[in-house]
């Protein structure tokens, strides 16, 4: 068993090394960094400390948008790269179990997403820290000059620990999306089909809260049951948005167990979709 986990790690490591060399990843990373960097132009609008909130929302939106593209496209590319180049043939002819192969590929993609989200969050955090520092120092300067500046609003103070927790939740959400993509790839024949179907599922997961509201009014027990089943089948990605509430203090504090619940929820779906992908890949003829 330990040998199988060793294989998973080796496959993951190679997958990661292959992925960071891909032009797609580097292009997406540069684009995302440029987007976060462009928050600098919010200074033009004299929002005051509100600028921090705008910048944070802008950066987190960028991470969500590009992170989801990365999770889907990188997973599909790395999987079909192995199939089309027939490196999977060489690999699976060795004493490698199919679950080790799928788990290794997924872990490699997950590491890639971790680096992506971590790097972008660090850049966003550094930018917010710098801008916040400038506002605070301007307030001190005004105070020393004998002016009566308004207190720097507490609700505008960036909670950097919250930003880190949000990054962790986003990473988990994208890992679940990568596992969904891997499940689709495990039975589909083309990269394009996998990407299209996975994005469609991503949209369902992202907009599930709307469907929840619509389903609440269903009278028929059969339809209600079906709706409930579909609701359980696709994870509700809005649950991971709890992390965004941690970046700035809120009037109603986020419940203590909310983050742990979201993490547990994510891990459950991650394991579930990975197991389904393994099951489907087992019967695939290479």
């Amino acid at each position: 068993m330990m040998a199988a986990f060793g294989q998973v790690w080796q496959i993951a490591r190679l997958t990661f090394l292959e992925a960071v060399r891909q032009r797609f990843f580097n292009f997406l990373l540069l684009l995302s960094l440029a987007l976060i960097g462009s928050a600098y132009f919010f200074r033009q609008f004299d929002f005051g400390p509100q600028e921090l909130r705008f910048s944070a929302d802008f950066g987190l939106g960028g991470i969500m948008f590009f992170g989801s593209i990365l999770a889907v496209v990188a997973t599909a590319q790395l999987f079909f790269g192995e199939i089309e180049n027939r490196t999977a043939l060489t690999m699976l002819a060795k004493p490698v179990r199919r679950w080790s192969f799928i788990a290794g590929k997924l872990l490699g993609v997950s590491l890639l997403i971790f680096v992506f989200v971590g790097l972008l969050t660090a850049v966003l955090g550094a930018y917010l820290w710098w801008r916040q520092g400038e506002y605070i120092s301007a307030w001190h300067t005004a105070k020393l000059a004998g002016e009566q500046p308004t207190e720097f609003p507490g609700e505008m103070r960036v909670q950097f620990a919250g930003l880190a927790v949000n990054a962790l939740l986003q990473w988990l959400k994208f890992s679940v999306l990568a596992a969904i993509t891997m499940l689709v790839a495990s039975f589909s024949n083309t990269n394009l089909y996998t990407v299209v179907v996975s994005f469609f599922i991503f949209l369902i997961c992202q907009l599930q809260y709307i469907a929840h509201d619509a389903w609440a009014g269903i009278q028929s027990p059969l339809l209600a049951g079906l709706a409930w089943l579909l609701g359980k089948l696709f994870p509700n990605f809005q649950l991971f948005a709890v992390g965004e509430l941690l970046v700035f203090p809120t009037a109603i504090p986020v419940p203590a167990g909310a983050v742990a619940t979201a993490m547990g929820y994510g891990i459950l779906y991650l394991v579930g979709f990975t197991a389904l992908a393994v099951g489907s890949f087992r019967s695939r003829e290479i």
Partner: protein, 289 residues
């Protein structure tokens, strides 16, 4: 009697095509055995079921009917695959790794212990003549070098059975001869080699035993020496054979009820002529393209 390296019994493999699931029979009731420490040829035209048979042996495809065993173990078990090394046709490897890193990676995957892994990798790279190019990126390798690094990854875990799918496809004659020598070296080291090749001359040179498939069925099987023997006909190679001598020989043969069927100037094989003119080339042996 020792356990055969490969035992295939009544193997049938069907593929379902299209939405209507039309059945295509790729292999039809195939049975044969490969004895240990043999070089065994698997021949047949395109679409004859060679690749499907090989994939079943490698545990990559599940048979529709029948069984396949490797040294007595089910071929789809991980234990069986520990005993097998495989070189695919026109292999493609991770281009960003060096030859050494690539072979070390597969060694790790196959469970070669960390202690001594680097030594083992160096040994197999030397065996395939890639030591000098071991630290170059695989992306810069020629086709012949790719085949050789493919061979290195196939044997790095010291398997008992080595399966080679078109090992000389696209390789120049010098590279092909080097690979042929490697196959014979593997046999000397006690390995069993299953060779799938369209180069019939190569198969004739190295294989002890072969099977020929056509449309998924076995059409010939046996020792190469037996299959290629022409009953009642012998070849003589004579130096300075003049027309007068030929007349005398024909007369003697006629007295014994035999007949001279053919006498023509001996020819050198094209491979030999090529080698004579080009030379084996030290650079090739040491990993040049």
């Amino acid at each position: 009697m020792s356990t055969p390296a490969i035992r295939i019994q009544h193997l049938t493999k069907d593929f379902r095509l299209g939405l209507r699931g039309i059945k295509l029979r790729a292999v039809d009731d195939l049975s044969f055995e490969v004895a240990d420490n043999q070089v065994f040829g698997l021949l047949g035209p395109n679409g004859s079921g060679k690749s499907t048979t090989m994939k079943v042996i490698l545990g990559l495809l599940e048979p529709t009917q029948g069984e396949c065993e490797i040294f007595g173990l089910r071929s789809d078990s991980v234990q069986a695959r520990r005993l097998v090394g495989y070189l695919p046709e026109s292999p493609y490897f991770y281009r960003f790794l060096s030859g050494r890193e690539l072979v070390a990676y597969y060694a790790g995957i196959c469970g070669v212990p960390k202690v001594g892994r680097a030594k083992r990798v160096a040994e197999v790279l030397d065996l395939v003549g890639l030591s000098a190019a071991a630290d170059r990126r695989v992306g810069t390798y020629s086709k012949g070098m790719l085949q050789r690094v493919g061979l290195a990854q196939a044997v790095v875990h010291d398997p008992r059975l080595v399966i080679l799918d078109e090992p000389t496809a696209g390789v120049d004659p010098i590279g092909a001869i080097a690979i042929t020598e490697l196959i014979l070296e593997l046999k000397r080291r006690g390995k069993t080699v299953l060779l799938c090749s369209h180069l019939l001359a190569q198969v004739e040179d190295v294989c002890d035993h072969l099977v020929i498939l056509n449309q998924g069925k076995l059409v010939a099987e046996g020792a190469v020496s037996e299959l290629l023997r022409r009953e009642g006909v012998s070849n003589l190679a004579v130096e300075n054979f003049t027309p007068a001598m030929r007349a005398e020989v024909e007369a003697v043969l006629a007295r014994h009820g035999a007949r001279l069927r053919q006498a023509e100037p001996a020819r050198v094989a094209l491979d030999d002529l090529f080698l004579e003119k080009i030379g084996p080339g030290d650079g090739k042996k040491k990993g040049a393209p």
